[in-house]
Symmetry: C2
Subunit: 391 residues, 2 copies
């Protein structure tokens, strides 16, 4: 992968800064994107238009050289860290090493993310380095536009996602119903946890890791962030939202379907149909040059036309459409661009979700989510999975 | 769980600070420990000796109130965030909200972790809040000492770990060997990836999540951070290092065994025996009042007596004992105390690993790791798994 850093170079130039620095671990996707390397423990790295440098422990040195894209890889011991430790505490010694490393890269003014650790920032500033916070997140902005290779990575994760969704659908739709109205599989009450386990095993088999999966039924489904727990019931919406990360490439996918075992009530069917209409309206709106806000507005308009509240038409509402239409997906499962109020302009190569939904504790929740890539003349849907509510 | 924050109160008092602030997501264990709450997106929280407060989005508000331990839970909308957004950019509006929140808690000077985001720190300082970096990590220090309930959580994770290790051992030791010297299971060459998948499925079935597992054979095993890949070979060390997190409690365990299918060479047997001797020497040294450095030294002495290099006797060595003896385990898989050079004094309730090992690309790697809790008069081993190299 060979990212285009022209936009980052421009940012540094405009702000009179020489580099863009990181001090973080594998959780920082901007750092990984810039260096092609990540490690479980925090490391220091700096991008300059001339070279990218990594400063790491001896333990990670070999991997940083072979796996990463940085032209300059140094160890703490290359700057006599242990000798400095004899005269200074660990933090001060580390800051002195970072100073020398930055000097080697000809860099004494750096931009940093808002999340850059204040401990390191204060130490660098004490040593005369200009540390300027990049409030806009220019690297996140650069990596929102995916290369063809990155799009392939998302596609691969999405294939795993579809296999896992099929397992979930099979369990939920294939379940019997007991006298209490609970779903039953192989003679046992089927729980949210059972379905999550089946999903996660399928994802593992496809080389994916995952932190969380949502299988939320009834009232659980009415809270978009609830992961779901306990027995699943017939005649209720079950939201299944899966967002795996391919272990190999580190890219995510993201998809949601809502299933119902039994016959939906008129209200349930209406909720589903209106949400599907909102989903189609959003997709119809997706093309380069349109803003994420416009796509979100297309969803809001559909819900509003059908008399459902939204947080955009009534900021106080706790029912109806109470989140945004979507978000970028890549190294992070939530990244730029945002399909929400103030959502930025869509560009070819943006990989985004479209995920309208309705929520009310008295009814439950419904959400339909696909993942698509913005193309030169519209979009390509990366999702290959049916949309249908009941058996 | 009811942590004892006396030590944190003392720290604040000594430093003339009114609170300890966080702005972070679920990855920050200090934040979770203090508030009993975590969310996928960053939230602001502050501990004061009088009350703990969380400031969050509307989406997480309900969960923060029911799941967390904070006495004060506020939403951005409680401080008119949206109105502030009309006159300010998002970051400035947020900082104004945080200021009002801190004022509500009677707090205008805060300690923060080194990892606290510089973007938020700069904004708070611009608004006159005293933000002081806590270089020593006092909260990590507090949570190093576990309550009985926390020790039970580790024990539960360790039972899952043992079940997963048994699956790995069964696959490796039960394997046939083909003409190329590769391990074979059910007619297929057995790979590191196969064993990791079996481990991870077993962990999922026991309610555990995990980021990584190490199944490293031959040269892979000679690098303590290599996760391992490809076919496993007979007559080679296979290091299996498993460190699951219980999804429910969020506590980890950590254990390593080294297996060998076939007959070990004299060198392999010697490496294993000396490592087991080092492991026993370390355990013998564990008791309250002894330092982590002392326990580490017990391991170094054994290896040194047998003529193996260590980074403590030869800082430049790339073979032999090239890491430290252990670390604390809890909400993080690596936390305080450290059993290394400068390792702090052990206290009852510290949960630590003991994990000596030897590494050389020409031989491979061997490591034996148990997890134990320091007690009033020694330690209790939380690990229940045999130590033996070959079939």
């Amino acid at each position: 992968m060979d990212p285009d850093f022209a936009r980052l170079d421009e940012y540094l130039d405009e702000n009179g800064l020489e580099g863009y620095a990181f001090h973080d671990d594998a959780s920082n996707s901007d750092l990984y994107y810039v260096t092609g390397f990540s490690a479980p423990d925090p490391l220091f790295a700096v991008y300059t238009p001339e070279a990218t440098g990594i400063l790491t422990s001896s333990l990670e040195y070999g991997r940083a050289k072979t796996e990463g894209r940085a032209g300059v890889v140094k160890r703490l011991s290359d700057y006599d860290f242990h000798a400095k430790r004899e005269d200074h505490d660990s933090e001060t010694a580390y800051a002195l090493v970072v100073d020398e490393f930055l000097a080697d890269l000809g860099c004494d003014s750096v931009a940093v993310q808002r999340r850059f650790p204040v401990g390191v920032a204060d130490d660098l500033r004490d040593n005369g380095v200009n540390v300027t916070v990049d409030d806009d997140g220019v690297v996140s902005d650069v990596r929102a536009t995916k290369t063809d290779e990155e799009i392939e990575h998302v596609r691969t994760a999405q294939r795993a996602n579809e296999a896992a969704m099929a397992r979930a659908e099979e369990l939920i739709r294939g379940a019997d119903v007991d006298d209490d109205g609970h779903l039953v599989h192989d003679g046992d009450v089927l729980t949210s946890e059972d379905v999550k386990e089946a999903i996660e095993i399928e994802l593992l088999r496809h080389g994916c890791a995952l932190d969380e999966t949502i299988v939320a039924c009834g009232r659980d489904a009415a809270d978009p962030h609830d992961r779901g727990s306990g027995p699943l019931a017939a005649g209720e919406f079950v939201i299944v939202d899966i967002f795996p990360r391919d272990k190999d490439t580190k890219y995510h996918s993201d998809m949601t379907r809502t299933f119902l075992n039994g016959d939906p009530t008129d209200t349930q069917q209406e909720w589903y149909d209106v949400t599907e209409e909102a989903y189609r309206a959003a997709l119809d709106a997706v093309e380069p040059g349109v803003s994420g806000e416009d796509v979100n507005q297309a969803v809001v308009d559909v819900y509003d036309d059908h008399g459902f509240p939204t947080i955009y038409t009534d900021p106080e509402t706790e029912t109806g459409f109470i989140h945004s239409t979507g978000h970028g997906v890549g190294l992070d499962v939530h990244e730029k661009p945002s399909l929400a109020r103030d959502g930025e302009q869509l560009r070819p190569g943006h990989v985004i979700t479209i995920e309208p939904g309705l929520y009310d504790p008295d009814v439950g929740g419904v959400r339909i989510e696909d993942i698509v890539v913005v193309t030169e003349d519209g979009y390509e849907n990366l999702t290959d999975y049916d949309i249908s509510l009941s058996n």
